[in-house]
Symmetry: C2
DNA sequence: TGCATTGTAACTCATTTAGTTACAACAAAT
DNA sequence: ATTTGTTGTAACTAAATGAGTTACAATGCA
């Protein structure tokens, strides 16, 4: 019994028993309830309702008798249908949500993003909005590598890093910070909260984004106050 | 609060509270926890963990403060990601299942299919395997209409119906049964179980499929015994 | 200082799913 | 016909999750 397959099927809305029974049946082709029970580990007394469930969900076919025989519907067909249903559902939700979303939301100047995907999304959005100038303070080469494509499109790109050699195989022209000034980016513990900044980007002297780990949590902070961006830029000048 | 939207989002894996909070936030653009609570109906004391959940799932961004402000991530982006994830998950499951499924399953001669989709699937499969000759007994024009495309490809198609005029706008050449012989297809109650046959198809004198409602349940029975198919065909001849 | 709001933590209740027990219906074998 | 094992149904308990509530500390505001 393949644990991965069961997990995958559960993500797609089946219960553990349903997933185990279906996977087993796919492997066997055709079987009695007892066989499915023995191979899948689903309790025998439950295998009947589970298989009936699967039949009404269209995963399984059967022919009654003593014993009743069961067979899995071809997985590619089942999965194709599942995909169509889910995609349709998503499309419906998208358009419904977008119609709610018509009124532009007045955006406030500061935002935090936590989820890994949310951060990626925001950073890409941020980089996409860069008009001409982008300034980056960075200590993590991975950060630059991840957004290499987007960064390549920026006209006036200036990058300042803590240790030049960490970045040399990336193909970007980077400057090293003045000795002593890298402390602004060092791991630090403030009020018992550890913080580690991976990078800071400033776009067109208008908005900036900070990426790092604060209190053990990965985090991006978007700041759209030109004042702050200017201050940050001033720091840049100071660090040259 | 749009009930449909919440339902749609739940199907995609959100809980009721999460769905309500997210939908509300999409509608508002930007809001405090309290506002989300008031507009969504989610208990105020729960709105905080719900919104935090949504943030780690990438549906929501926020900026801490007093009060903390929340904002929905653009629905099209969120939904697109969701779709990509689900489709990837489905593709993975499909290939895993297919690799289990390699050994051909020796097929037994009779099969029952219950789910609406399962029936469609089987009938299409059945029609796709017709080599040259297909015989149909039918009392439901919908049945033929549904599979019109597949039926069009059949070389030698003979259709026998109970009442000719019901089928006249379908574009098929149909024969009417002899008076009295339509009783084989009439609604009947046998042993307290009502049965209603919509149609019977016989393919190449090899296999046949019966579609109808038995005991209040929609059902298709696939029979791959040439003997039976031949018998059924003999009935056809008798009914001409 | 008092008072409402914000935020956290813990609880209860209901629903769903996992796993068990008891037993009737049936088939085969002595 | 009686025993024995299998098939199938029904109902139960236990665990997990989500919905809804209560209590209270921290914060901000008059």
């Amino acid at each position: 019994m393949q644990e991965d397959i069961v997990e995958g099927l559960r993500k797609l809305g089946l219960t553990e028993y349903e997933a185990k029974a279906y996977a087993t049946l796919v492997g066997r082709g055709e079987a009695t309830a007892r066989e499915v029970h023995e191979l899948s580990g689903v309790p025998r007394t439950r295998i009947y309702d589970i298989l009936k469930d699967l039949a009404t969900k269209g995963f399984v076919e059967y022919v009654e008798g003593s014993p009743t025989y069961y067979r899995a519907v071809e997985p590619d067909r089942v999965m194709e249908r599942l995909r169509d249903e889910l995609v349709a559902s998503i499309d419906r939700s998208t358009s419904e949500l977008l119609s709610l979303n018509l009124e532009a939301h007045g955006s406030s100047p500061v935002w935090c993003v936590r989820s890994e995907w949310g951060i990626k999304n925001r950073v890409k959005d941020f980089l996409g909005r860069v008009d001409s100038e982008l300034i980056i303070f960075c200590r993590s080469p991975e950060l630059l590598r991840e957004y290499k494509a987007e960064l390549g499109k920026v006209e006036n790109l200036r990058i300042k890093v803590d240790k030049k050699e960490k970045f040399k195989d990336l193909g970007f022209r980077v400057l090293e910070m003045k000795a002593g000034s890298e402390r602004f980016f060092k791991d630090a513990i403030i009020d018992g909260i550890s913080s580690r900044i991976d990078g800071l980007m400033i776009s067109d002297e208008r908005s900036s984004i900070v990426i790092g780990t604060i209190g053990g949590e990965r985090l991006a902070i978007i700041i759209k106050l030109p004042v702050i961006a200017l201050l940050q830029k001033a720091v840049w000048e100071a660090l040259v």
